[in-house]
């Protein structure tokens, strides 16, 4: 880096910072706004006067959530799903990526296998066959229906496979000379060396599992088994007053309560937001390592 920057360089730096700051504000402001709405009174929220700071501060919306047992059931389903799902994803991704990262000279049918994997990434059977398969396997209405159909994330496998290939071959060769088997090599060398890549795919899996709602909707026959995002989907639905009988309209009033919607969205987004800082350090390292290896 040059210490004495030219004027044009300085202008660029300033502009760049302004631009990046604006960009990050764009991402952060909606969150702040929703947070402010969730802590405002209902009247202020429906009048639209809440901007970035709560108006007529109240925690009523959060109390409302804690009164709803269904919210916690759904939350727990989501937690189970993330823990189980991410665990399974990681295990299968690692064990699939390892053999596929070998040279074809060493592992002959490698290319065939890779193609089989890639084809599932490019083409899928479609929603109905997917649904019928899961139904036929008797997974409906259980947590496994949310976890097993997406047990092998092919994209992650390819990511990790490429990372494995970038590790020096000499490591493996020397380990082999010392008598290490495949399992030893995988778990003692490859996995510890690939922490950055693993952190990345862990995050992908976690966020994916936490945010997905459609499969929960299709595969769960009882709303008690809904994961959190599916549950939220049913709350934050758009209303259609034309299908409304006179008495039902009263309940619509509660639904149009923006503060509680905002609070629920916030509580649902918070856990996954908290995961980011912890994985952040692996991320940074991962990028650096990749660049040096090139």
């Amino acid at each position: 880096m040059v210490s004495h920057a030219s004027i044009s360089r300085k202008i660029f730096v300033v502009c760049n910072y302004v631009f990046l700051m604006a960009l990050s504000l764009l991402c952060v402001l909606p969150l702040v706004h929703i947070f402010a709405v969730s802590l405002s009174s209902g009247a202020a929220a429906s009048a639209g006067i809440v901007k970035l700071w709560p108006v007529e501060f109240t925690t009523a919306a959060y109390q409302n959530i804690f009164d709803k047992p269904q919210y916690f059931t759904a939350f727990w389903v989501s937690v189970k799903r993330v823990l189980l799902g991410t665990g399974i994803n990681l295990l299968l991704t690692i064990t699939a990526a390892y053999p596929l990262s070998k040279d074809s000279s060493y592992f002959r049918p490698r290319t065939v296998y890779v193609w089989i994997f890639v084809i599932t990434m490019l083409f899928s059977g479609g929603l109905i066959p997917w649904f019928m398969t899961i139904k036929a396997t008797g997974l409906m209405d259980s947590i496994w229906a949310l976890v097993l159909p997406s047990a092998v994330p092919v994209f992650n496998v390819i990511l990790l496979l490429n990372f494995f290939r970038s590790l020096p071959k000499e490591l493996e060769e020397s380990a082999r000379i010392d008598g290490a088997g495949h399992f030893m090599i995988l778990w003692k060398f490859y996995v510890p060396l690939s922490l950055p890549a693993l952190a990345t795919i862990t995050l992908f899996s976690m966020v994916g599992h936490w945010n997905s709602w459609f499969d929960g909707l299709i595969l769960m026959n009882n709303p008690d088994n809904y994961p959190l995002q599916t549950f939220l989907q049913t709350i934050v639905i758009s209303k259609d007053p034309r299908f409304l009988s006179a008495q039902e309209a009263e309940l619509l009033l509660q639904m149009s309560d923006r503060t509680s919607t905002a609070a629920q969205i916030y509580v649902a987004a918070l856990p996954i937001l908290l995961v980011y800082p912890f994985l952040q350090r692996f991320f940074v390292k991962g990028i650096v390592m990749g660049s040096v290896k090139e």
Partner: protein, 561 residues
């Protein structure tokens, strides 16, 4: 994000495509099923007592949506006093195949994977698809044989119009979820406190309304800096709340429904020449800055922000508009901040304005072709109608749950089939104002809903402002009273088309609706001249409107005879 949207779009497209494919494929495999189920019908119960109990009990599967249903302590949609009562009284065990608040999405999958329960609720277009796919049972004979006289009367109160929306080639393929068509009528809601403040009279004509709008925007009664004429949302053609249907009706234009033209043929209200005049008026108001320039991208909740802030004083909408969204504007911080009142819609000329209403049915109950006991569904319906027409003590569990006491918890919604009377709410508009004025609940009769409303009005009068919305509906001169007044003055313009949707309607209605909205919005926002309307009519016809009109008239010929 983009990718996810794409994925979602793709999956939706796939579902619909596949539902069609499997539906066609299902045809052949379904045929024998239908034939084998026919004899069981005949050999079933020897006497055709429509209410005979099954012994031993049979099982009937259905699917449910539970949004807005409350339950007694310890009960759920799968296990509750209402389902138990059906088993006790009729020997019918009702079992939910699935329960979801995203009903239609889940139903699509069920239909596509040929996995439907014995009976369930569908929309008009789903009914059409199921009928074409030959997945649902013909219920004509079941209705003839098993419907009680009361049930038959209930379904035919409107002369059979609602039944005919479910009749394909003279065969009844579903039970229409009857309701009254008057619920979709329009009302003119105005802030009475503003009228009084500015010394303006109640509106009698459209000219009055325009004058009031001008005064409101000019004088800014709440001093908020900028006041607009109408509360409008993006779904302004027929949105229920904050729409313009009542305004268009004031010009004798009826967008969205079929009307008879001068030659006695059916024509679609959206392309009536009268629309042009109404749009011209709106454009003039927009030019004068009297209409919220952002209305085209706002939903009712968003538009309501302006109303709550005291920037709008006129809102066309349904009779229940006081409940949502007006309640949150009227009552703020425990005080009555805005005094909204409903008025009958007004006319631009000497002919009184008629309010456009649909047929009153938007869903249907269908019976699967594979159902072993299709007539059991009729029995369940008979039961519901018996409960509605006579409030006997042993029926209370169906309405109020296990306690059999009315707790205003709407537990009747647990019932697997729900039908409303085809004249529901009309009596309410006559009885409630009288009883409220006389302070005499005995004038109300026995209808539970009317009595509930009276109770809520009393709560309002005792100072409970959360019940303001009910007061605006049920009070003397409230929206119910107007609903009744419309009826007496014959001011309902009911949709003349009550057949099953024709192929062109199914295919084109969505596209034509988009086209209509786009053009009208452009005209109102003064992006194009109002003469664009004539071009739009031509295009509408070319894009499939002509075909739609032709099919509608072919149907019309068959009922005229």
């Amino acid at each position: 994000m983009k990718k996810r949207l794409l994925k979602m779009g793709l999956s939706i497209a796939l579902v619909s495509a596949l539902s069609f494919m499997t539906a066609c494929g299902g045809n052949s495999s379904n045929q024998p099923q239908g034939e084998t189920s026919a004899p069981t019908e005949k050999t079933g119960e020897t006497p055709t007592d429509p209410m005979a109990k099954y012994d031993p009990p049979i099982e009937l599967t259905t699917i449910r949506s539970v949004s807005n249903i409350k339950f007694d302590e310890g009960e759920s949609i799968d296990k509750n006093a209402v389902y138990d009562a059906y088993e006790k009284d009729l020997g019918i065990k009702i079992k939910n195949s699935w329960v979801s608040d995203k009903y239609s999405e889940k139903l699509k999958i069920s239909i596509a994977s040929n996995n439907i329960p014995d009976f369930f609720r569908v929309s008009a277009s789903e009914l059409q698809e199921l009928q074409e796919a030959d997945m649902i049972a013909d219920v004509t004979d079941i209705f003839d044989k098993y419907a009680t006289p009361k049930t038959k009367e209930w379904f035919n109160l409107d002369g059979g119009r609602q039944l005919s929306t479910a009749t394909f080639d003279n065969r009844l393929m579903a039970f229409p979820a009857t309701d009254n068509p008057y619920n979709s009528s329009s009302y003119l809601w105005i802030r009475k406190d503003w009228l009084e403040k500015l010394g303006l009279p109640k509106p009698q004509t459209m000219q009055d309304v325009i004058k009031i709008a001008e005064e409101f925007t000019k004088q800014d009664p709440s001093g908020t800096g900028k006041t607009y004429a109408f509360a409008l949302n993006s779904d302004y053609i027929n949105g229920g709340a904050y729409d313009l249907q009542g305004f268009f009706n004031g010009y004798h234009a009826y967008p969205g429904i079929w009307v008879k033209d001068s030659s006695g043929k059916l024509m679609f209200g959206t392309i009536m020449p009268e629309m042009k005049q109404a749009l011209k008026q709106l454009q003039d108001m927009y030019k004068a800055g009297m209409i919220d320039p952002e209305f085209a991208v706002k939903d009712q909740d968003k538009e309501n922000e302006l109303v709550v802030a005291g920037k709008i004083g006129i809102a066309y909408g349904a009779f229940w508009q006081s409940i949502w969204p007006l309640q949150s504007a009227a009552v703020q911080n425990g005080k009555l901040a805005q005094d909204w009142e409903a008025y009958p819609i007004v006319s631009i000329d000497d002919n009184p304005a008629k309010t456009a209403t649909g047929i009153g049915v938007d869903s249907y109950f269908v019976v699967s072709k594979k159902a072993k006991h299709p007539e059991a569904v009729m029995k369940i319906i008979n039961k519901w109608i018996e409960i509605q027409t006579s409030s006997r003590d042993d029926n209370k569990v169906y309405m109020f749950g296990k306690s059999e006491v009315d707790k205003s918890a709407l537990l009747w919604k647990i019932n697997p089939t729900v039908f409303f009377a085809q004249d529901e709410n009309l009596p309410a508009g006559k009885l409630l104002p009288k009883a409220i004025e006389a302070k005499d609940p005995s004038l109300l009769g026995t209808n539970p809903e009317i009595n509930l409303r009276y109770k809520r009005v009393q709560q309002y009068l005792a100072g409970d402002l959360n019940m303001w919305n009910e007061w605006a509906i049920s009070k003397p001169g409230g929206s119910f009273a107007i609903m009744n007044q419309y009826d007496q003055e014959k001011r309902y313009q009911v949709d003349e088309f009550y057949g099953t949707l024709t192929p062109a309607m199914l295919e084109m209605k969505g596209i034509l609706g988009e086209k209509t909205k786009e053009t009208f919005t452009k005209i109102i926002m003064n992006k194009v001249s109002v003469d664009e309307f004539d071009k739009f009519v031509e295009e509408w016809k070319k894009l499939g409107g002509e075909q739609m009109t032709k099919e509608a008239n072919e149907w019309y010929e068959t009922v005229k005879k």
